[in-house]
Symmetry: C2
Subunit: 173 residues, 2 copies
């Protein structure tokens, strides 16, 4: 039962550039980042409203094969064609984790900048799989926010993937 | 002829905590970070005044076997016992690089938060060797600052070292 972050950041730790742009990210086809195996290993995704709307805006076929829970108190409905794939959820990170566990979703993929930061603040992230894209953006939207609580992780694996590097950290408990 | 940064950061990219503290850093003896081999490979160090004064404040024997150039326009003299080991230097990162190259110092270790940021702004950093200590500090003094110019590096090596990870990036030119 784990909450896992799987995300790409720039060399200077940003998940989007200062205009929320992502064009510095390599195409998912440019290398094998292990994304499919990762998705196979999780039971559901939890993402914030912004990330959900960004994914929606890409258009095309729905991307995720696992249930997606969108954390939002303002969204009232999900587009019709996604009603069996996407669900609204509310609560603190701890409440959301407990609720989804009770429903049988053991391994959760926690996605989206603010959502990840909120889950880290409550220390309910167990693993971080961070792919560093070796671009120094100079400014942008940081993965990590400020928080009071220091957290200890350990790096268990690191892989160079076509000029990039993927580091896998797990929480020490 | 390379300018190289060799530095440790927290998981969230800080080189010191919010009180400038370093007690979250592991002891240099706790693992082999390749520091001695790295120092053997460089010809001189360039650091800012703050880093110099931090190193001085540790007391004890002088730490570096290679000449240290301290970038400062305000410092007027070097403590007597370091006069043959530490030298004051002024100029922009590009000017300092050119000056030291002319004096025969080919590979330079660029150290200290602001100094590294200033060298990156002028795109005169060739390599970054970053050891990530897997502690999320929550706040602190960031390694990377804001800058206009985007820079492309590539990761050429990555090593897990006793729960930490050392990633080696080189500038694409």
């Amino acid at each position: 039962m784990k909450n896992i972050v799987y995300i790409a950041t720039s060399l200077d730790g940003y998940i989007a550039d200062k205009n929320d742009g992502l064009d510095w990210l390599p195409s998912p086809d440019s290398a094998d980042f292990g994304f499919e195996a990762f998705i196979d290993s999780i039971d559901a995704l939890v993402m914030g409203k912004n990330t959900f709307q960004t994914v929606l805006a890409y258009g095309g076929e729905w991307f995720y094969s696992k249930p997606v829970f969108v954390v939002s108190s303002s969204l009232k409905e999900i587009p019709k064609h996604l009603e069996e794939k996407v669900f609204l959820i509310q609560g603190t990170p701890t409440e959301i984790t407990n609720l989804l566990r009770k429903e049988g979703f053991e391994n959760l993929y926690i996605d989206g900048g603010l959502t990840v930061q909120n889950f880290l603040k409550e220390d309910v992230i167990d693993e971080l799989i961070i792919t560093t894209i070796p671009t120094l953006l100079g400014d942008g939207k940081p993965l990590f926010g400020k928080q009071e609580k220091q957290l200890q992780f350990k790096c268990i694996e690191s892989k160079v993937i076509n000029k990039m590097v993927q580091n896998h950290f797990i929480k020490e408990r």
